[in-house]
């Protein structure tokens, strides 16, 4: 197998590739700024310079030339090479800063050059704490600067577009942002303008950087030149916890990082998932973090005799619901599921009503035709449409929903977390004759029309799985406490870096940020108390149960999903799987 020697250690490689990526894959460190594994290689930052050479091959003898010590004679390239653009070659010898003083010096020199025109404004820069330039300067940079002139001044705080703000002075001209709009989002909205140390990225005159993926440029900016208009000045990186999640604002289900501080989600950024979203995610998914904080249903609400909804206790909500259930026969119950609800919630919801004798389970797809693209946005606006199809819910179109209510005249209507009034012909008046129960996360037109509202957890408060438009099952981890969970006790919750290091910034003190809600499956378990048919302790148990009943889910576990960033399911027949 071809071999390469890095800092005098031998490595084998199978695939052709570049030295820098190979080193990263092998956990070796080398500083770099402009390189990005999913973009073209401009080799312009010059930070990943290494000393490289090839053994001298004696063609006549057919062997490598050896020196007096029996070591291979190495012919080094006359200049230092950028590892990002250097092809792996059999027998190649590479020296990094670990084994070569010149390389070490060159890395420091390069950082000195980068820093001469870079403002020293880390204390007020959003990027501080997660800034490659800051980190690499600490690690590889010179101790001081010998630059004693005025730095080049460029425009600051330029609103490039609705979501991205540019500080051109911080820019180090790595061109990652330009390459992103050229190669990934293909909107070609950015360019570098001017030349030399006066250049910086910009949109065309009068053009707005409204690329639906614009915030990815903020992620990949190795400095604080591009910052998020929404997140700007909201939180310091070291104050936040970082929990893996998935984007539930769209059918694609991008892998995400959920950033929390004091039990509020501060921002959402993409998490690398080769099978789904690579390093990227749409802006819309990031900005959906608000639904986890704002307008939340906290505590059950009830409508006493055609009056305004008022808060009530869980006990009262439960008792009222039992009474309503006792009043009706199964055919008089209309059960509407939701493509926005998780696999586990949807399963529990359906299983419960099926046990009561309800036969039909409907859901209203949340699809906006033409809103998707070839990249990471699907027409489907919901995270689990394929999931609930697989669980046997039947699709009902928006205009049909009203007829269903009109002809069936249900006395009791259950709606799971979906603002169906907003996207169907169904109006509050159609539900007047029925007692309507809404299990939801946020207040909306449907919750306001309901007689009883049960607050349930969002994707950042429970562990649950969702199946994306491509049939991949992925799961979430609680990133945010509810009134009933504690991140130090709940084993599903991940502890952030600050937890481990105990920084004083990591105080989750504001009780108002803890929502009074429980997972839908847990509420159903409560409803069913007294019987031991549907008593689940955790969503894991539910998933295990689904695995036993539906072949496509067989053997699927959270551990598996965690390990592989989700699992591709074989969902050939999305149709009715009414085995529940």
């Amino acid at each position: 197998m071809p071999e390469i020697f890095i800092d005098n250690k031998r490595y084998e490689f199978e695939q052709p590739g570049k030295v820098l990526q190979f080193m990263l894959d092998n956990g070796l460190d080398l500083p770099f700024f402009c390189y990005h594994p999913s973009l073209s290689i401009p080799a312009n930052c010059r930070q990943c310079m290494v000393k490289a050479g090839m053994p001298v091959f004696d063609k006549v003898k057919g062997t490598f030339e050896l020196d007096e010590n029996g070591e291979r004679v190495i012919r080094y390239f006359p200049k230092l090479m950028t590892a990002c653009s250097l092809d792996l070659a059999d027998g190649m010898v590479v020296h990094t800063h670990h084994s070569d003083e010149l390389v070490k010096q060159a890395q420091a020199d390069n950082l000195e050059f980068i820093l001469i025109n870079h403002p020293l404004d880390c204390p007020i820069c959003d990027q501080a704490g997660e800034c490659p330039l800051q980190i690499l300067t600490y690690k590889y940079g010179p101790e001081g600067s010998r630059f004693e002139h005025k730095k080049v001044h460029k425009p600051k705080a330029i609103q490039l577009g609705p979501r991205v703000i540019l500080d051109a002075e911080r820019c180090i001209n790595c061109t990652r942002c330009v390459r992103f709009t050229d190669e990934i989002s293909k909107t070609h909205q950015l360019t570098i303008i001017s030349r030399g140390d006066k250049n910086y990225p910009m949109t065309a005159n009068g053009k707005v950087f409204d690329d639906p993926y614009s915030l990815n440029t903020v992620d990949i900016c190795p400095v604080g030149a591009l910052t998020s208009a929404d997140f700007r000045f909201k939180a310091r990186v070291w104050e936040m916890n970082q929990t893996p999640g998935i984007d539930i604002s769209n059918g694609k289900g991008c892998s995400t990082w959920v950033w929390t501080r004091d039990n509020l989600v501060m921002r959402i950024t993409p998490r690398f998932n080769e099978a789904v979203n690579d390093h990227w995610m749409p802006d819309s998914g990031r900005l959906s973090y608000r639904i986890f904080n704002e307008n939340r249903i906290s505590k059950p609400w009830i409508r006493p005799d055609e009056k305004e909804q008022v808060r009530t206790t869980w006990n009262n909500a439960e008792l009222t619901l039992r009474e309503e259930l006792d009043k009706v026969k199964p055919p008089e119950i209309l059960v509407i599921g939701s493509p926005h609800a998780s696999v586990e919630d949807s399963y529990a919801y359906k299983a419960y009503f099926k046990s009561l004798g309800v036969a039909d389970f409907y859901f209203l797809p949340h699809v906006i035709p033409g809103s998707g693209d070839d990249l990471l946005l699907s027409d489907d606006q919901a995270p689990n449409t394929r999931g609930i199809r697989a669980l046997g819910y039947s699709e009902v179109a928006g205009d049909k929903l009203q007829k269903l209510v009109a002809s069936g005249r249900p006395k009791l209507v259950f709606i799971l977390n979906d603002d169906i009034l907003d996207r169907s012909d169904l109006a509050p008046s159609h539900l007047e004759d029925a007692y309507t129960v809404y299990l939801g996360t946020n207040h909306n037109s449907t919750s306001r029309a309901a007689d009883l509202v049960i607050p349930i957890t969002t994707a950042v408060e429970h562990a649950a799985s969702y199946i994306n438009v491509d049939g991949r099952i992925q799961r979430t981890v609680p990133a945010k406490e509810t009134l009933y969970t504690n991140r130090r006790l709940n084993l599903e919750m991940s502890m952030g870096r600050p937890d481990h290091y105990g920084t004083k910034f990591d105080n989750w003190v504001t009780d108002a940020n803890r929502i009074d809600c429980i997972p839908a499956w847990e509420f159903i378990t409560r409803l069913n108390s007294g019987s031991d048919t549907f008593v689940w302790e955790s969503s894991r148990r539910i998933l295990a149960e689904i695995g036993k009943k539906i072949p496509a889910f067989q053997g699927i576990t959270y551990e598996q999903m965690d390990e592989n960033n989700g699992i591709q399911l074989k969902l050939e027949q999305d149709s009715e799987v009414n085995t529940i």
Partner: protein, 180 residues
């Protein structure tokens, strides 16, 4: 403020001809920008937009190109742009003297345009007329070599009178001596 600019049928057929020289249309960006600058006198944002639309290329790309090349005027310039070379040979042969004389004469600094919009002065890099220093170029076209104050005076007067400088051929001394 900015009126809508457009290419007429003749322009479009010229642009098509320029594009036909290359396997990919983007290659014609520089020629088309030159063409547009000849027509409009500059390639300000409105012209850049027109070029982008005409060539069906991203506006940002055109903007990036325009700002990379110093001969493209990003904003309207004086009717006559006097590019005075101050680089190397011209520097040591009095290029700055000529530049300063021009600045004084026209009452503007390098990089500025006279209030009447007639003249702009720029201090530019080597124009490749090193033996004929000091020299300047008039609006990206003719070179005026061997400048003296008198020659500058004459040039300004000619330009004011609407007379463009002619092409100055700098013969090789070897041609003068050993002509067949």
């Amino acid at each position: 403020m900015s009126e809508t600019k457009s290419f007429n049928a003749k322009d479009l057929s010229e642009i098509e001809k320029l594009t036909a020289k290359y396997p990919e249309k983007q290659a014609a960006v520089l020629p088309v920008l030159w063409y547009a600058q000849d027509k409009f006198g500059h390639v300000d944002p409105s012209v850049q937009k027109l070029v982008a639309q005409t060539m069906d290329l991203p506006e940002a790309l055109i903007y990036g190109v325009v700002t990379f090349y110093t001969q493209f005027y990003e904003k309207p310039m004086g009717k006559h742009v006097l590019d005075v070379c101050t680089c190397l040979s011209c520097q040591i042969c009095g290029g700055y003297d000529i530049l300063h004389y021009l600045e004084e004469k026209l009452g503007i600094k390098a990089g500025e345009t006279t209030p009447d919009g007639k003249f702009s002065i720029q201090s530019v890099e080597c124009l490749g007329a090193c033996a004929y220093a000091p020299m300047l170029q008039v609006t990206n076209d003719k070179y005026v070599n061997h400048l003296t104050r008198e020659k500058v005076d004459q040039l300004i007067e000619d330009l004011k009178a609407g007379k463009q400088p002619g092409f100055e051929s700098n013969k090789m001394p070897q041609h003068e001596n050993g002509s067949d």
